[in-house]
Symmetry: C2
């Protein structure tokens, strides 16, 4: 098939008629598929089901230090759980606090206490006229929802395969004291699956913030979530805490991670890693907020996985289930859209998403057409602050939940809608030119 932009008006109109017919046929199939949220599939949850056997009636419920995990005590995580999470992201256990079942609330609580109490003694953000966060986009909708909830102004920063536009990041951070944070998913980013380059990480560490309470929110949600077993097909991320330390900015970063997509979604353990000073600030508030998190579940995870090597072995099973789904999507995209120049997409080595960029102004319409035909995609705009994609072109595809066959079906429908909507847009543009 020709590149669409090289087609004549008649060719486009003929193609349009053909696509409309195909679309009606597709609607008649009564599809009901969801490729919108990054949920592990039931099969993925099964591979962790043995977690339920780890602790039983006769189990020793004590930590290696002899602390009974069933009772109150140790607010910031049992030592062996700190070690496990630290090992996953390459930091020291002394720089880790282990919390509850998810990292999102740790981020939310951090920002909430920055609002009410400031960061390490700075002015509480609720007392300031304006607080801003930089938002590399496409990015993670739940991050943006937090900053929007707190009335923090979000500034979009374009993404590239190396990471966010660091010229822009450096400019904002160094000149505007109202800029207090930046949202990052630095490894297998959501949704593009990009991993920040070494240079990007070093430039982050070298930032000279105008605001003393500027912090990098380094959400390392996909730290070990490779799609391939071969190390040359696995992304590697420079370790940010030591980079910041070496650059003389030890307190500039909060790093987050969790086992939600390793063990059980909603029943894993999560952690925050940072400098001693930042952790002290967190602890001061944590000890008021809670008596402690679920140490039994921390013990369960430690006994099951043992260490990072145990986690890596486990992740291969996840990868085995996820790979065919990603490949099913990529196969259809390449086959149906390759060379047509009506869309581009990422081919990640890990993570949970494929990011698709349609022609400008087409994303909302594509998502709507898919929905009409029974295929749910993440809402257009969701990957941008305020749910507003200035190009109306980015669409996030989540292959994890359905089966590979369902993903192929859903992508068949998706590419059909991409073509249909793009043709309609091109015909519209042609009509406007004539008018």
């Amino acid at each position: 098939m020709k590149k669409f932009r090289e087609m004549s008006r008649q060719e486009l109109e003929a193609l349009h008629g053909d696509l409309v017919k195909q679309y009606e046929d597709a609607k008649g199939k009564g599809l009901k598929l969801d490729m919108s949220r990054g949920k592990p599939s039931p099969a993925q949850l099964e591979i962790s089901q043995d977690l339920m056997n780890v602790l039983c009636h006769d189990s020793n419920m004590k930590t290696e230090d002899g602390v009974d995990t069933r009772n109150y005590g140790i607010v910031d995580g049992i030592p062996e759980a700190k070690r496990l999470m630290a090992e996953l992201i390459g930091v020291s256990a002394a720089n880790v606090i282990v919390c509850g079942n998810a990292s999102l609330p740790i981020m939310f609580d951090n920002i909430s206490r920055s609002m009410t109490h400031g960061v390490c003694g700075s002015t509480p953000w609720c007392k300031l006229d304006k607080v801003k966060f930089l938002c590399p986009a496409p990015g993670y909708d739940r991050h943006f929802a937090i900053t929007e909830y707190f009335g923090i102004e979000m500034i979009t920063i374009p993404m590239s395969p190396e990471g966010p536009d660091m010229d822009l990041v450096e400019k904002y951070v160094s000149t505007d004291p109202a800029v207090k944070g930046i949202w990052c998913v630095p490894k297998y980013s959501n949704p593009q699956g990009y991993t920040y380059s070494d240079e990007t990480v070093r430039r982050f560490a070298a930032l000279q913030p105008a605001a003393e309470d500027f912090r990098i929110y380094w959400d390392n949600a996909y730290a070990v979530h490779h799609l391939y077993d071969e190390t040359d097909r696995q992304d590697h991320l420079l370790e940010i805490l030591s980079e910041c330390n070496n650059a003389g900015h030890p307190d500039m970063v909060f790093e987050f991670c969790s086992t939600s997509k390793i063990s059980m979604a909603g029943s894993g353990i999560a952690a925050v890693a940072s400098s001693a000073k930042n952790l002290e600030w967190i602890r001061k508030s944590m000890t008021i907020q809670t008596i402690g998190y679920d140490k039994i579940n921390q013990l369960r995870h430690v006994r099951y996985f043992k260490n990072a090597a145990g986690v890596a072995e486990h992740m291969k099973k996840h990868a085995q289930l996820l790979r065919p789904k990603f490949e099913a999507v990529e196969e259809v995209l390449e086959r149906e859209l390759g060379g047509l120049e009506i869309g581009s997409w990422t081919k990640p080595n890990g993570g949970y998403f494929i990011s698709f960029d349609a022609c400008e102004g087409c994303a909302k319409a594509i998502v709507a057409k898919c929905k009409e035909a029974g295929v749910i995609l993440t809402g257009a705009g969701a990957t941008f602050p305020y749910k507003k994609d200035p190009q109306d072109s980015n669409i996030r595809i989540a292959p994890s939940f359905p089966s590979p066959e369902e993903m192929a079906q859903a992508t068949d429908l998706f590419v059909l809608c991409v073509k249909l909507v793009t043709v309609e847009k091109l015909l519209e543009e042609a009509a406007e030119k004539t008018a």
Copy 2:
């Protein structure tokens, strides 16, 4: 022994010499006992150990509605967990949200979001000049720590066996719009073990707050924590949500409860009960803060306890272990201090504490003397806002953790210190009179 206040100076001096010798002997025993925090004992944790067997490799991990508890979904608690918690406190499941492992963070988060976002549309508290909370005292130190952390002014309200001084409560609440809340532990209160009378509960429900965003924080932490099996020795608390509803103030109360002292301390489940409007306000923030809580642990609790009757049977085992400890304390207090009029103490039907009131000005010294001899008590003043007991007389005794024998030993030392410190105070007073 005579009442101390009827003793002559010589008698007091002789007694003092005797007590000092006993105290030195006691110090020589090298005691190391802790009756400061309401922790369940290891034996109490053992009775719940079978919780670890409830879910295993072959278990059906789905809720009664077929939702997989291992995956994301259902942010506000699985239906059967809502039912269980609702039954414990006598409300409807529709008025319940089930959260994580503790109720303290639910309370903290409530107040935090009131600070940043106001309550159901009211002005955010961080924008107000002053916010006040009424604090029935003696009360729970962790409640007071939360309001102190947020800079909320705390007003002490005296407690009585029927509950807080309702004349004072009504006056403050109805005349001062800066009064936004009141901390209550209405059943087997911490530390006195009092249960609010029916009249008190009705007067709460009938409050006419000057502030539209005034809320009662009804921490029903000891809802089912009876020390005795006979129903005529169990306290009963009128159900607050329906009382408020009937009084035309359906949104005036947040009620909290948890299984921390039922199943495992730190690994139970917790809930908040309130009106539909209040729960909607909570959910709005919750869905930004978290993807959800640990549904597997909710399922575990439901499968283990089944219902309130199952919980009640389980609580009898707790009571069996706790009763001898409370009775050991009471026996020593009665034997050694009965009739001397140098202290009074509560005799609760449930809960986790005994509240002791020494002579004015003696509490700090008594706690210090006990510590010197190896017995830790809750810090004097801890049961009051700002850790300041205006009478310096209240001391909270927590019998749960040590064995009955250790509790008797600790109380022996305690009563010795009470006598010693009181005699020293009386001698001081006598000296001042003479001077």
